[in-house]
């Protein structure tokens, strides 16, 4: 009897906890979407070649976005100087590939390549990836 009682209490307590957590969670969601009225800030998805990069060779650098509020603008900065490239999409495409050739040196050189995307409402945070350019 004691065991049943404790089991019942544990179940009730668990149900109570689940209810409370789910209520709190739903409250948070509602605050995000109603109180602030701001659409989700897009996140840039930055994909760099998995193979070792060699100077003087061309490579694809893919910049994508989590946003569905297109058209999107995609930014790519190879990090080897200060030049950045920009692609202005027209449809709802969620990614664009930038092709880039790093300068060739006789030694390995790391660069901080960055990507960023913007939709019609927001601009994403920078996503940085280290690109190691090997000697030609």
């Amino acid at each position: 009897m004691k065991k049943k009682l404790f089991t019942s209490l544990a179940v009730v307590f668990s149900l109570f906890l689940m209810f409370t957590v789910s209520t709190l969670a739903s409250e948070g969601d509602s605050k995000n979407s109603t109180e602030y009225g701001v659409a989700a800030v897009p996140t840039a998805i930055f994909t760099i070649p998995t193979n070792p990069i060699i100077g003087g060779s061309q490579y694809p650098f893919k910049v994508g976005t989590t946003s569905t509020s297109g058209p999107h603008v995609f930014y790519f900065n190879p990090g080897d100087g200060t030049t950045r490239q920009r692609y202005d999409g027209r449809g709802s495409e969620q990614s664009r590939t930038f092709y880039y050739t790093y300068k060739a040196y006789d030694y390995s050189k790391p660069y901080s390549a960055t990507a960023q995307t913007a939709d019609q409402l927001n601009i994403s945070s920078l996503v940085t990836k280290t690109v190691i350019v090997n000697a030609w």
């Binding site: 990090g79 030049t83 692609y87 092709y99 880039y100 960055t114 920078l126």
Partner: protein, 839 residues
């Protein structure tokens, strides 16, 4: 005889009454006109001269030599400067309660926009692109060095359907889908301002320059910049597009020869990075391929973009260059932007103007090595930061972010502009061809200081310039609404206070534009807009001087006329009164008769004048007309006993002959007491004619140099004309009166000469010689007084001596002509009404 005397007295009275009536009206009207004209001009200056600020503060000893010499500054004189005022000093001034606006200006230097590319239409064929650039100053064109070459041909590979072969500088820029070239660097004036204070001064919204965000380079700070909307970029690209024969076999052979393997990332594009020698060899080989057809295009950037534009730029299918902001497209766009373009900038010095014999010239200081563009001022390349690849290794990285535009007022006919110092847009043009406008080339060193092409926040000024970055503060004094005496005093007091603190201070209220002719080496004579500082004060002074001279001379001329006429009248009445006394009249009766006569002489013109002016003052609502008349009448009445006393005191003076010299000279000397007044009047008329003309010319030259001066003097012209006509009219009347009086006294002499057989011609000749002698002396004295007075008061008069001689000749001729007419009339009457000639 009795009839003659009676007629003479009646005519004399009528003449006196008429002249007094004219004097009453003329003097009253002139005083009233003088007052109302003064009001009009004061109002005009009050309305137009106060600009958007009152005082210009600059660091100590900021005046350039040309500014000191000419009192003028270049239109955009604040676009260049080494600073000297700190942010703390500016804030202290801004926080003063008696200052409404304190807008700082800090010239940052000549910067280029962030480098961007421009794209040509995609071509699905084998093409050789050759591009070169040209800039212009409006007169001469300059080739901007290198020629850029790129090849594009169909060659499917993992990255594109095209392969491209380009100069090294075009790697990652030129693409088959977007045949792109870098837009060459062009340099533009950047000025730092405080958005809030500048907004108060101009009414524009500059708040965007205070908004900053992080960009794609976390190591760099983003500097928001506003670009001048109507500014142009003087640049043209000459694009040659050649079709070349390049078969698949040819491409394959090239791949084999130059070790190209696109499948493994080793495309043509990266060859300059992999093997420079091989790349040079490839470019040489391709250059030898003959073209099958050629197209040539001229892309004019000046029509397309303004400075600091940093968006997409493209040519449409017709190869017309378009900017993306004004002409967005439906297709996808790709482009690059170089955020490191502000790594270096140019600091420019002031133009070395040379002033010689009132002519301004500018010499070249050198030439830009590659393009041969002439330099007219010292330029110094300076570094903001140094990078090693992506890393800033010295200094702090910045890049400009073009956040919008600002515009400047295009009202070129503005009467009194405030020389804000950075927004001047008046064109410089060739003197011989006013349609040929001049402007700086795309590179630094021009003699023209352009308006600010880019505005950034003052918050960046310390970092980009120095600890004391501010070149000037434009101050608007609080609680004044226009430029009148009280406002001027308040401004002057504040200016003196700032001056004591070590600032160079200029009161700019009423400044106005002015065009200068400058001889520029390599270009010729150009007309350049400059601006004066403080024209309203000059115009007020100018008006005061002319007003004082006019009033004084006019009053003297009138006074002398009244004294002389009354004196003559009193003298002529003296004999009549003696006759009446000998006939037994008592003194009281004579006094009563005299009183009645004077009442008639003075009262009748006064009543007439009063009636006329009463109506006029009612219609014109100008009570000063009546007040002036009453004052003038009172002065005239007070003068009578004084003149009478003086005239009777001179009765006993005996005329003594000189005894030597010609008869003409002896006669003139004998009648010296009679002609003294006439001589004085003629001298005065000469002074009026010469001195006033010289002063007016000098003052007008000084004030009509400015737009405001031209306007104000345009308003004053009619007043000068009317007043001068009055003045001359009165002087001539005075002269006629004095000559009549003189010859009436000598009527017996004239009759005697006639009796002894002198013809009319001989008489005229004889008397005109006399007049010529003393009037010549009078005119000469008047001319001497005028010239020396002008020399002492205003300076050089040598340039005007020809004018003086001309005026003297004209006056002398007029006097002789008037004398001849009067003499003929007198002779006619003397001969006809006197005794007949004994034959």
């Amino acid at each position: 005889m009795k009839i003659t005397i009676s007629l003479s007295k009646k005519r004399e009275k009528f003449q006196m009454i008429s002249l007094l009536l004219i004097i009453y009206i003329l003097l009253s009207c002139s005083i009233s006109s003088l007052n109302s004209a003064n009001k009009t001009i004061q109002q005009d200056i009050y309305d137009f001269s106060r600009g958007s600020f009152d005082i210009l503060l600059r660091p100590g000893k900021s005046h350039t030599s040309i500014e000191d010499e000419l009192g003028l500054v270049e239109e955009n004189y604040l676009g260049v400067g080494d600073g000297g005022i700190s942010i703390e000093q500016w804030e202290r001034i801004k926080n003063r309660k008696d200052i409404e606006v304190a807008a700082p200006v800090a010239a940052i230097g000549l910067y280029t926009a962030s480098a961007i590319n421009y794209s040509l239409p995609e071509r699905n064929e084998s093409i050789r692109y050759t591009v070169k650039y040209l800039t212009t100053d409006g007169v001469n064109n300059f080739d901007l060095g290198d020629t850029y070459t790129a090849y594009s041909f169909l060659d499917q590979n993992p990255f594109s359907k095209y392969s491209t072969i380009t100069d090294e500088s075009l790697v990652n820029i030129f693409r088959g889908e977007y045949p792109s070239f870098l837009f060459p660097l062009t340099y533009h004036q950047v000025v730092a301002i405080d958005a809030e204070e500048e907004g108060k001064l101009t009414g524009e919204d500059y708040s965007k320059i205070d908004l900053s965000s992080s960009g794609l380079n976390p190591d760099f700070d983003e500097v928001p910049i506003l670009g001048l909307k109507d500014a142009q970029v003087p640049l043209k690209a000459f694009v040659q597009i050649e079709n070349i024969q390049l078969s698949e076999d040819d491409i394959q052979q090239l791949k084999n020869k130059y070790r190209i393997d696109p499948e493994n990332g080793l495309g043509f594009e990266g060859l300059p990075y992999r093997d420079k020698d091989l790349h040079i060899q490839l470019m040489k080989e391709l250059a030898e391929i003959e073209s099958t057809s050629t197209e040539k295009y001229e892309l004019d950037f000046s029509d397309t973009i303004s400075p600091f534009y940093d968006n997409y730029l493209y040519a449409n299918e017709e190869y017309h260059l378009l900017n993306y902001e004004d002409h967005p497209v439906d297709k996808e766009m790709w482009g690059i932007i170089d955020s490191g373009s502000q790594k270096t900038y140019y600091s420019v010095g002031a133009v070395n103007y040379q002033l010689s014999d009132s002519k301004i010239s500018i010499k070249q200081t050198g030439k830009e090595q590659e393009s041969g563009i002439p330099l007219y001022r010292e330029i110094q390349e300076k570094t903001n930061f140094v990078t090693d690849g992506p890393n800033v290794i010295d200094g702090e990285g910045i890049y400009f972010n073009h956040v919008g535009y600002f515009e400047v007022d295009l009202n070129e006919e503005e009467l009194a502009s405030s020389p804000l110092g950075i927004y001047g847009i008046h064109s410089t043009y060739l003197a011989k061809d006013t349609k040929t406008l001049l402007h700086p080339t795309s590179l630094p060193g021009s003699f023209i200081t352009t308006p600010a092409h880019g505005l950034i926040s003052l918050n960046w000024a310390e970092r980009l310039k120095s600890d004391t970055p501010i070149d000037a503060i434009r101050v608007r004094v609080a609680d004044i609404e226009g430029y009148d005496k009280a406002a001027a005093d308040k401004i002057k007091n504040m200016a003196a206070e700032f001056e004591s603190e070590g600032f160079t201070v200029d009161i700019v209220a009423g400044a106005s534009n002015q065009l200068l002719t400058i001889n520029v080496e390599g270009i010729g004579e150009v007309i350049q807009p400059w601006t004066t500082l403080g024209a309203a004060d000059t115009i007020l002074k100018s008006w005061d001087i002319i007003k004082i001279i006019l009033v004084s001379l006019f009053a003297i001329v009138s006074l002398v006329y009244v004294i002389f006429s009354f004196s003559n009248l009193i003298k002529s009445r003296r004999n009549d009164e003696s006759l009446l006394m000998s006939l037994g009249w008592k003194k009281e009766h004579i006094k009563k008769l005299r009183f009645n006569e004077w009442s008639l002489l003075l009262g009748v013109p006064f009543i007439f004048a009063f009636t006329i002016l009463l109506v006029a003052s009612y219609i014109l609502k100008e009570s000063l007309l009546i007040i002036s008349l009453v004052i003038i009448f009172s002065i005239v009445c007070l003068l009578i006993p004084i003149i009478r006393k003086f005239s009777l005191a001179n009765v006993k003076l005996e005329h003594s002959p000189i005894g030597t010299g010609t008869v003409t000279w002896q006669n003139a000397w004998y009648y010296r007491h009679q002609i003294t007044f006439s001589m004085f009047q003629i001298s005065l008329m000469t002074v009026v004619s010469i001195f006033l003309t010289l002063v007016m010319t000098q003052q007008e030259k000084q004030t009509t140099q400015t737009t405001l001066g031209i306007y104000v003097h345009g308003q004053m012209e009619w007043f000068y004309t009317i007043l001068l006509i009055f003045l001359y009219l009165l002087t001539i009347l005075t002269l006629i009166e004095s000559l009549l009086s003189l010859w009436q006294q000598r009527s017996d002499e004239i009759t005697t000469f006639h009796h002894i057989g002198w013809s009319k011609k001989q008489l005229i000749n004889f008397y005109l010689k006399e007049i010529a002698l003393w009037s010549g002396v009078s005119v000469f004295i008047g001319a001497l007084i005028s010239v020396f007075s002008y020399l002492i008061l205003f300076g050089n008069v040598v340039d005007s001596l020809l004018w003086v001689a001309g005026i003297v000749a004209i006056l002398f001729s007029i006097i002789l002509l008037v004398s001849l007419i009067v003499l003929s009339n007198v002779l006619h009457k003397s001969i006809n009404f006197g005794y007949k000639k004994v034959s």
